[in-house]
């Protein structure tokens, strides 16, 4: 591994060398473990999720606009009945800060802009406090306390910055552009590997935890017939075959030619460390009905593919750990429903 540091006039060069190990044999991790997890880490982990930054960006702009345009009204909202000019100015300044913050967040091609907006915003806050400190009517202790607060970084900003730096060009995003969904999800189940593997390997169990499956009929050693509800309501059916089956390790499958919905995937089972049970990982690709548009529509009604797989895995965990899928008064109904009992029969 060769690295060079440009230090202006001199260039320091390092020569290739074996990195060796710094850890004593007794505490060194087992190579099988590190290799497996490093491979997982290196593979695509993108799920094509939405960005939190957009959401926060719009909120910042909304708040900022109202602060800047209606400072008197907002002052009243927070309990200052007769806002003086200074109060209103402070409100406006805070408003401008929120707007710049929001705009920078939305232009997320340049996340560094968001950082600059934060710096500018913090400067405004400090200026505001400077004014307060200079006013002899204000109590010093409280203001110094407040100053210490301002000097701290805001949790909101940190979260956004983290999100912004997390928009890699993943395989999932590329697939999504072609209308094919590729998703990877995982869950830990507090049951032994052989139990979880056997439960899954009996495909007729799958509809017990996969919301969209109506039935799976095993046709032979490797072939099965699947029937599922699509997001638009009508049933879709296909035949599938097992492409790989390693007991207590991995099951691979894919739909056969002529399927309504092309899909292929693997599910792997690993012993979770420290007796935590089984790590289940699903890697799934499919071509949703009506292609890219279909997947967008599905997202609108919360049928986002990765989320669906995650829900299914959670239901598997519930079934294996507690014997049932957990429901509440609100979730036992389809669609929004208040958290109260209903005289209607359960519709799941």
């Amino acid at each position: 591994m060769g690295t060079s540091f440009d230090t202006g006039t001199n260039t320091i060069r390092r020569t290739e060398r074996d990195l060796g190990t710094a850890i004593a044999p007794a505490v060194r991790p087992r190579p099988e473990t590190t290799t497996r997890y490093q491979r997982l880490a290196d593979e695509d982990r993108g799920t094509g999720g939405e960005s939190l930054a957009d959401f926060l960006g719009f909120f910042s702009i909304g708040l900022g606009l109202s602060q800047a345009l209606m400072p008197g009204l907002l002052a009243r909202v927070v309990g200052i009945d007769h806002a003086d000019e200074r109060n209103r100015t402070v409100m406006r300044l805070m408003g401008m800060r929120e707007i710049s913050h929001g705009l920078a967040l939305l232009s997320n091609q340049q996340p560094e802009k968001a950082a600059w907006s934060r710096v500018a915003g913090d400067a405004l806050d400090l200026a505001m406090l400077g004014g307060v400190l200079a006013n002899p009517e204000n109590k010093r202790g409280r203001t110094l306390f407040a100053t210490a607060n301002v000097l701290a970084v805001t949790a909101l900003d940190v979260m956004c910055a983290k999100q912004l730096s997390k928009q890699p060009d993943t395989v999932a995003h590329k697939y999504a552009d072609r209308g094919i969904i590729h998703t990877r999800r995982a869950i830990t189940i507090a049951r032994p590997v052989n139990e979880v593997y056997s439960f899954w390997r009996n495909f007729e169990n799958l509809p017990r935890f996969m919301r969209h499956l109506e039935s799976v009929t095993v046709l032979g050693d490797r072939r099965s017939h699947w029937k599922a509800r699509s997001p638009v309501g009508k049933s879709v059916e296909w035949d599938a075959e097992i492409t790989e089956d390693r007991a207590n390790e991995l099951i691979g499958w894919r739909s056969l030619a002529g399927a309504d919905v092309f899909n292929a995937g693997t599910v792997s089972f690993d012993a979770a460390p420290g007796g935590r049970g089984t790590e289940v990982r699903v890697d799934l690709q499919y071509d949703p009905p009506f292609g890219k548009l279909g997947s967008k529509v599905a997202m609108l009604v919360r049928e986002e593919p990765g989320q669906q797989v995650q829900d299914d895995l959670r239901h598997l965990k519930q079934v294996m750990e507690t014997g049932e899928i957990v429901v509440s008064d609100a979730t036992k109904q389809r669609g929004p429903h208040p958290a109260k009992p209903d005289a209607e029969p359960v519709t799941l």
Binding site: S60, V77, N138, A148, T154, M159, K332
Partner: protein
Amino acid sequence: MKATCWMGPKKMEVTNVPDPRILSDGDCIVRVTSTAICGSDLHLYNAFMPGLEPGDILGHEFMGEVVEVGRNVKNIAVGDRVVVPFPIACGHCGACTAGLFSLCENSNPNAWMAEKLMGQSPAGIFGYTHLLGGFAGGQAEYARVPFADVGPLKVPEELSDDQVLFLSDILPTGYMGAEMCGIKPGDTVAVWGCGPVGQFAIASAYLLGAERVIGIDRFRYRLDMARQSAGAITINYEEVDSVPDVLKDLTAGRGPDHCIDAAGMEGHSHGLFYMHDRVKQMMRMQPDRPIALREAILSCANGGTVSVIGVYGGLIDKFPMNAVMNRSLTIRTGQCHVHRYMKPLLQRIRKGEIDPTFVITHRLRLEDAARGYSMFNNKEDNCEKVILSA
């Protein structure tokens, strides 16, 4: 049955709704004999927690008589008198096995919502937003209790409802708040908020060996209760220039060894920063006003503990991380893992080490829940804790 429904901000209505039914073989149905309004319910009342829908039945502090059990229920039977812990826990997952019941991995059917906002989902909670499950609450005549073998605790007949009701939430919560501090002999503990949770945090800090406990609030009647009933030294934050300064004075410059935030997301204060926090909260930019939390952090002694039992619902601004990091503070927090404290605290009540009834100031009928909410919210009529009974 009659139930207390949230119909919009500051709008509670007691209406007739269908009776709950057993939905799963592990459920039981409890006929509620006593239930209480919690400071956490006020965050819902004021609509500061995300994930409410008009018509939701609220209430997570309740007890009563078991009137029906599902087929698989073994530990309790029809006729038992039980107190129900507010977090819903399956008893089998990794979190439950580790005693972290409010983090049950299986009990929130809307875990996906919570994951979007918080990264991971905690347990489901009765009557506490769709984000935490969409379970109907216990401020009603009947309630469905999932995982009946794991949660409800049978209580002896010789203890009254008043004596055991708070095992459902606020007594364990105050106790956990003090326990998380890791109190050592000679330690001083400061508690922000002298609501019912703060009162129990103060009392518990003494139970766990604190030398001095300081209670902070602005309502005189609450400070009086903290002083007389729970044994606190009290500070009215409206009467002092700076709470951290007074605390420094009381501890000869060290600061309290442990600081407990029992005020939560609707913290109150004066000045520009309060204004800034309130604007953000009104605009749904920032659901929380972390005023007590910031003050607790800045007041805490070097190397001390900040124990956060006040509830927060979102992202917060101006968090003094520099103080936390450079001064080696430990932050501990969580929704209370009620299940693990119920039995030991029941023992303490039986032995007379603590009498939780001291916080009760108002008793109303379930029909009058709406009045109870507004009174508790506005701290009217020296209201500390409201009990509703059927």
